[in-house]
Symmetry: D2
Subunit: 486 residues, 4 copies
């Protein structure tokens, strides 16, 4: 929906709760995770013997407009997927449901395997076929090829082959399994239903949505198995890896009411704003935010600096995916339809405008012009994260590196490009100060400095692969990842 933002890949949810309408609770859980993906949604239910799945393109309430899976059951998993303009691939809708020698397995994945192209090639050479371009299909093929007897052993063995970022909820006919990669790139938490039963969710806000109590985060490298008898934990890898939760969860992706790895997202953003106030030392009449993502940091900036917060920009809550865009030359009009300046709030004022990040810089420039038109005297743009310079290989759609404005322009050049009177980014140190509550003690901030927590085998393929999809739109189709058209 917002073409000038980074995008999370997905949200996942899983529940094991006899006596509860697990499909409906998964529906609510996915609703709470809808900000993590708006392209497609799916729910798969199991009852100990069989499975029933329903998947479709669109928002959770569009896909399940008519009905949820009708099969009664006591286990369910669900998935929401993010939306870019081009890559709407029906075949890619998760959860993935397959049968294999060990029975039936359903899987929902959040993250990105950095060695997926290698594994896929290897699997293909071993005779596997692929019908989608999602990593889940690589993983289920590994599980299917494992020589282990037990499904848990098969999963564990497979997890030792994959690299990169992955949180998984996996369902067999009679059990629910949650898995988090050894670096803990993506979040996954565990909750307890009021009358018993267990829940996995990408964010704790989904636990709140179903009335579950937050128990703890799934640990990096941990596999948790729920099968009725007990909740069993199992370590995936012997050696411990440096924890590397994606710092952008705190900056932008996660909902402010979530708590991830012990750190409140809300408090993290407030602290980023405060730190930015300290670092910038700016003086002005008012602090405003670019809603909604910059609001919490703006409040932090305001409280630290003592400069009053004002609602300088109003966001139209009804902009949907099918909105008819103005033509390119009238794009400023397009921004005015999504956002509008509150002239009485900003006219004649020097304004500190807080946003969470700058990707391409085009939207920022339009907002600055809109504020000037509304009479703002000075506009200082403050960004509550450092410049994004490097691509992400762990599941974030950072677009091509060349489209990242900070990868080719200095801060002064960016300032001039967007037309602000001044421009401040939060420092990397400042960012880390703001998230000291993170229980794991380590974060991935590679997009700012380029030092990736893991070796990335297929960096080139991973960067390239995003664009094959973006050039093609297809309602019910599957687009080749392969060679480009001549």
């Amino acid at each position: 929906m917002n073409e000038d933002k980074l995008h999370e890949e997905c949200g996942i949810f899983g529940i094991y709760a006899p006596g509860v309408d697990v499909a409906l609770n998964t529906y609510w859980g996915l609703y709470a995770l809808q900000h993590r993906g708006q392209e497609s949604a799916g729910i798969c239910v199991a009852n100990g013997y069989a499975m029933d799945i329903r998947r479709g393109m669109g928002l959770v309430n569009e896909v399940f407009r008519d009905s949820l899976p009708e099969m009664p059951g006591h286990i369910a998993i669900g998935h929401v997927r993010y939306s870019t303009t081009g890559s709407s691939l029906a075949a890619n809708i998760q959860p993935l449901l397959v049968s294999y020698a060990g029975g039936r397995i359903a899987m929902a994945h959040n993250g990105n395997l950095t060695n997926a192209p290698l594994l896929r090639k290897k699997l293909e050479q071993g005779g596997s076929v692929f019908q989608t371009t999602v990593d889940s299909e690589v993983i289920v093929n590994l599980i299917a090829r494992s020589k282990k007897k037990n499904v848990e052993d098969r999963i564990a063995e497979s997890m030792n082959q994959v690299e990169g970022a992955y949180c998984l909820v996996i369902m067999t006919e009679d059990r629910l399994i949650g898995v988090r990669d050894p670096n803990g790139f993506r979040p996954l938490c565990l909750g307890r239903m009021p009358d018993g039963g267990w829940v996995f969710a990408s964010e704790s806000c989904a636990l709140d949505a179903v009335g579950a109590m937050m128990i703890r985060d799934v640990e990096p490298g941990e596999m948790l198995i729920v099968d009725g008898k007990e909740l069993r934990s199992r370590r995936l890898v012997a050696e411990k890896r440096p924890p590397a939760l994606c710092v952008f969860e705190y900056i932008y992706f996660a909902r402010p009411d979530s708590v991830i790895d012990g750190q409140s997202v809300h408090l993290a953003r407030l602290a980023m704003g405060r730190q930015l106030a300290i670092e910038s030392g700016l003086k002005a009449d008012i602090v405003i935010s670019v809603p909604d993502s910059g609001t919490t940091a703006a409040h932090g900036f305001s409280s630290q600096s003592g400069i009053p917060f004002a609602e300088g920009l109003i966001k139209n809550r009804y902009i949907g995916r099918t909105f008819i865009q103005p033509e390119q030359k009238k794009r400023d009009a397009g921004v005015r339809i999504k956002l509008n300046a509150v002239a009485p709030a900003v006219a004649g004022k020097s304004v500190i405008m807080v946003d969470d990040s700058i990707v391409r810089g085009t939207t920022s420039g339009r907002i600055v012009r809109m504020l000037r038109d509304a009479g703002a005297k000075k506009i200082h743009m403050c960004v509550s994260s450092p410049p994004i310079v490097y691509p992400c290989y762990y599941g974030i759609d950072t677009t091509a590196r060349k489209e990242l404005i900070a990868s080719s322009k200095t801060i002064e050049q960016i300032r001039r490009y967007i037309g602000a009177d001044s421009l401040y980014y939060l420092s990397l140190e400042g960012l880390h100060k703001a998230v000291t509550q993170v229980a794991l003690g380590g974060l991935c901030s590679a997009c700012f400095h380029g030092e990736y927590p893991t070796e990335v085998a297929c960096a080139k393929e991973l960067e390239g692969s995003k664009f094959v999809f973006e050039e093609t739109a297809c309602a019910m189709g599957q687009k080749p990842k392969g060679r480009k058209r001549p």
Copy 2:
């Protein structure tokens, strides 16, 4: 969407602008007015000779998903209608388009005629038939029955027969007319397109959306005619009536970035919050808002009292009309899906929670419980308007009087019902202090004190009529207003 709020009836938009894609601009204008009605939308275009109309159930981007009216033209009007659960009547979708002896006329209406039942009965006795239950049909029948030759005279004559609240945009094959009732109950403003051409809109935010410059508000009792030659103004009634703009436009309905009758909605809400802080004299650790409607007042409260503002509640941005609700007994869960408390922000704190109004009180009670569950120590609810005690006859869906909690309970009883530690309403005097910029100098606040600015001929019918619709749901149908089923 929110069953515990008052609802505006409609938003209207009209444009006369040769050389401009008037259908597309009307589409954008309706987008900006979408908060005034989510049930249905329609656009009608004229080209000097003919008209083309497209109408449908749903949001603006749903109705016009595939295409806008395709006829090129230089005049257009549009309408969005509000949504209650039950009254989705396809036949009622506006604009209304009719032919009559004088040619062809299209009309979009915001407001409520208080003598509509009388006029309708009189027209029926004179041989008229009605296909809808909207006031526009009464008005076009009056216009059609006028003995005047000129359409403007016909309209003027008709306006002298109707009573109550109405803003109209009217289109003939070759002209655009904007009308506002003599009391000015509902807002209507006039803008100028950058390259010439005129725009009418319920709120100035829709002018911003199409890049038009705000010229002025249409005056109460004024008819403005645009027909290519000039912009002509005409008074509808000889005597001047006391201005009575609906004060709820400032409290809740209008978008904060709109300016209505000279008063910024944003500044009005800020002032309401400040006044509430003064009147209540409350002390607490933090001020939070019930998003989104209470947010601006909460900022005002915070700045006046010096108590820090905090984002204590998060709203799910994706709740749509087809959301599957929890059963009645699990309604608290339902609130948790729409709103969630930010525990780290409120835990252990005494909290001032600001909302714009209380209708039934059920949602407020659920939010208070949610905040207590999140650890809030004390919860003081502050409402930035006085108690709503009387029904509205001028176009606001106040539901039945008996459902208004303040019409049967004292403030102390309400406090106990919602479970807050204290409850403060803004005083009527305080409310009026907050909106002193209103150029007209008079407001309708009858829902607070019951002194209606006009005599209401059919009060009984008007109150009752809302509920005939609410008991029936019908996708493509028309439900009778008449006798109840036995």
Copy 3:
């Protein structure tokens, strides 16, 4: 669907049957009448006090895909409307439902009022407004303006003002009324439900569909009232007019299993074919038909002549409205997709090809070429009706006179145009011989000879009006009948 055929305007159905699911029976009745109109459908139900309506664009099973009107009731009327490419006007979907001084009235109409433009103008001058372009709206306005007290008297009075062709089913809250015009242009029959209750339908096949017994045809100029007490008959006009049932009902429109005014449609078509065999005196190897409309006549031709019938052409049963057409230059391909020759049946044979009529002649030409490609040696085209030379003003879409190939070409010229070896039309006398069972004793065959049974006041307007619609396509809109675009 078939652009080279005449089109019936509509099918109508009404039922009064306490204890029966009247909405469902109306649904089945409309199904049986679907061949009379594929553009839109609607059902209106009454329960003695209130009414519920559902209408939509599309086939009966598309419009009522999700549900029928849900209100229990004991009276219902329904309507199907024919489809031309351009005139899909949502506002025109019937039944029409209005309130007026006398209460509530719903109406479905089949036919065409020849003085509708005059009446409409007169009503407009008297202050009426019109929201649609259907004749029903003219009629309900006449009813509403009648000074009579009783609804039956109002209807009777109105029927004395209208001229032309009309069969009506009319419903008030507590009664069902069937009306047929004094000439009996369009068919309407009366049936009795097995457990009591009455049914009106355009054709007897709809009585069969709901298990009703055919009682008799509604007489020309008769109004039948069903209101629970009894079935009452009333004559609309004093003088008796010459009966003039549209002969095309027998030639093409009606379903072969219907019996209209005492004449079996099946037997009529057989007799037309026999008569054609006698008149033409043709010899050939086989008789084939253009399916489905020419099939019965072809059987008659075969049995009379002794020339064996063969299935020489196969029709694709799945061609729907959204079929993607070949471009103009590839139209022959388009015909091949709808129809295909059975080469083994026709190769090397001299073929008599029977069709019911020729309108433009384009399709006939394509079929002749297709048969030649399949190896037919000689192709004799035999048409089981006379050449269509004059437009119809009584409800048949004959397109403009200039598009009727027989109005500007001799039979020899037509033969050359379609490429047949010989071409025979049934004579007018022969046609009348084939339908001698018609109880009324009179038929309208004005499209063959131009002598209309009634004076046609607005012939020019009626012919022209078809084309305003055909030039515009509009999914949810209403197109002006008025002035042309410059």
Copy 4:
């Protein structure tokens, strides 16, 4: 749509034609094959480098309502799938598109592999996963696991592992391949486009639809490769197997205008009718058919016996999948909506009613009653095929053996069950006499006598597998084949 008929599994189409809109031609081809499957449709296009696919539930014109695959290309394949009530599985829509070690492969399949369960189990034990229940997925896995380098060798090797019935169109990025099983159970023919280029289709009527010339049938056990250079033929198996084209293609499945293996379907059905007249020696007043499937045989019966043919039954052409059925107890009404007797044609007559086959017998019984109600004096039912006693394992949905009326009842018992005065089936010898033109010289008629042309490894699983699907309905889901619910 017709629950009392056997159902073909699928129709397939493939085209290789540079300079032609291959997607549009595939669309037309599938239209012509729509009678072979109405549940879902799909088209996949290749351009030498990449592939684009579009698939969906519904008829061809519903699935491609908005657009065809947009990618320009010169190769395309398409598939239509049949509809039973319960097994609407979105994941099963073909063509199947996968990537594997050799690149990308798309496949459409008609038929049924008799050893699919075995192969699937073996593949799963080798580590394969399955996302669908279609045989195509088994075949692509075999291809992917082949050690051969060349895709043609891979296919050939795989074909030596599968048993049963299969016609395949296979597409890689740059070639089109057609395959027919060694027994030739299912039809597949080869055509040539007018300007060059090759076409494969299940039936020759699809060649006609795209203007292609019939070249010849693909031979049993033949693989034809089109890759731009030439058309190459390759034998799949060394030994020649007895040809065994499904005789039901002639009896019921194929369109009469198709020619399969040298035998015109039209002429075959005529001959069956003639033979039936000879065998039965019946005398009566008229011969009627159960439309549409019994019509050609009825004509044959009539011409042989000299008893006149009459249209005694009329079929409603508009019955679609979403038709609201009468309740069970009113099923006779349901038949009346689909079919209606032409009373004037049958009243007082002794009638020979010809149908192509009897499956359950329920519909036949209802039609007999309907004819009696219409006044038929005697009703002799004549079936243009022998009694169906054994299930089909080669791709026909024969339902469970116990539901086949002829597997548990004698002919006399069946006659009594359906209420006919006499009942005649065509003898097996008679059937074979009627299709003597079949070039292959051998047919599969195992459903009549139970002697299957091949060993059927998994007969039990194959029969059972149909019912797992039929018990579950799922719009966008995938139902487990596995264990039953407890």
